[in-house]
Symmetry: C2
């Protein structure tokens, strides 16, 4: 199989079949996505890993160009159940970029001050500026997942939040922001293995939160809430992509491929030099 | 020569001779530091580069531990003349860490709102939280360099700012912040070559700012301002280290070595697991 980042558009679309949702009027069937599927794989695990590393290097160069070009802003949203691999994705896909070029935000439960504003208030403050790449580890989507599962919002309030998110994201894209939204989709069984590993490995134990077990009890309710949120907020300007993520390598490969393609589609360029500077000699 | 990060303390101190200033009552003689000196070199350029890469990988692991440990905060300040290699340092030394673990701030001229506060107001907001590593590309030291060269402050006002910086930094360290301050020291000739390169290379042209030529005209005044600032703000709690930086590889090697040593000196550890979780099986 050839490297997915070099696919023709048709081959690319084939790999993505059933994984992209861009129509808030249609229903997205999350349950039909197999978390163990590997549509972006190019061969065995070692080959896939080699392509991830190659793409991560390429993304470093693209970031430099993105920053120099300064016409766009990039917001990458990574969502998913506990232990789905959000941290690992950001490390492996964006971990070769210079720290100056990429800003990651790990969203936690809102503070008292944040709760006293609308739920997009704190999000807006961390949106990328021209030339910036901002990575959201969790996001405003937590605000249409947690309160939904906990039944803290009425149906009308939930629908209102979906519409507010769509309006907010459209506004950002109208101002030059490219929004890439990835839902890392793991199976209930894979989560069990990963949480157990956090408990058993002394070097990972600190990542284990007892409340993760509590959330896990509501697995089905969260899957439903994700399906609803993805359906309602996958838009033409900010579509959702579901990433089969039981394989960490496949997850990294798929996202690195898609981010690189998205950046290359912008036809980034170094700005023209000022002609007045052409013959300047530094004394 | 052996790898500098494995030096005995005595060998380490020898490499640092004349480059560290930690006594605000003494005068630091910046002019005596040779920007072409390579005290941390282990051999030829290729060997030095290999050690930088090795140390960058090691720093990635140390960052993970630093975050897990959560007892400390790390602030790295990088200062120096235009084209001294601030961006390159942050890329090569910290570029292997996950974007989740390290936050870089590039300080520019203050906004109108920022100017209407004291000069430490905006700085304080970006200070690292527990477990965080924050990199300052330029810093509050610009506020005791630019206005000094432009003669916008009286001697008394400048002395007051030095003291305010020392008090502020001491307060941060008293709350668990480790502050590492590096002044990248290049020669006037090396700056000329690098600025000319930015003018001549279309892929670097966007980095060139005409005002850099203006600042360059005041080279000696800036060297004096640096010598004054370093002298007055090199403290036992937040010493300055001057990094001979005409060689990019040496600059990276020296800083990577020093940051790794500083982190290792903290005896970082993974937090003890909660004994109540010891026998938990994830269902």
């Amino acid at each position: 199989m050839s490297k997915p980042s070099k696919d023709s558009d048709a081959a690319h679309d084939k790999r993505l079949a059933g994984l992209v949702h861009a129509d808030p009027k249609a229903r997205f069937n999350l349950a039909k996505v197999d978390p163990g599927h590997k549509p972006f794989s190019v061969g065995d695990k070692a080959q896939d890993k080699a392509v991830v590393e190659e793409l991560a290097q390429e993304l470093d160069g693209l970031q430099n160009l993105f920053w120099a070009d300064r016409r766009f802003k990039l917001l990458v949203v990574v969502q998913g159940m506990d232990a789905c691999g959000k941290d690992g994705t950001l490390r492996h896909v964006f971990g070769r970029m210079t720290p100056l070029g990429v800003h990651a935000v790990s969203w936690r439960a809102p503070s008292e001050e944040e709760r006293s504003h609308d739920f997009l208030w704190r999000i807006h403050q961390r949106a990328p500026a021209a030339g910036e790449i901002v990575l959201f580890n969790r996001s405003h989507y937590e605000d249409v997942l947690v309160p939904v599962v906990k039944r803290q919002l009425t149906g009308k309030q939930i629908a209102q939040r979906y519409a507010q998110i769509n309006d907010f994201e459209r506004m950002l894209t109208e101002h030059g922001t490219v929004i890439l939204k990835y839902m890392l989709h793991i199976s209930r069984d894979e989560q069990r293995l990963r949480l157990q590993d956090r408990l058993d490995d002394p070097a990972k134990h600190w990542k284990f939160l007892p409340e993760d077990l509590e959330v896990r009890k509501h697995w089905d309710a969260y899957q439903d809430a994700y399906a609803d949120a993805l359906s309602a907020t996958g838009t033409p300007w900010a579509p959702w992509t579901v990433v089969p993520a039981d394989s960490k390598t496949h997850r990294n490969l798929m996202i690195a491929t898609l981010v690189a393609r998205a950046l290359k589609a912008l036809n980034l360029r170094f700005p023209e030099g000022d002609p007045a500077l052409r013959d300047v000699r530094v004394e």
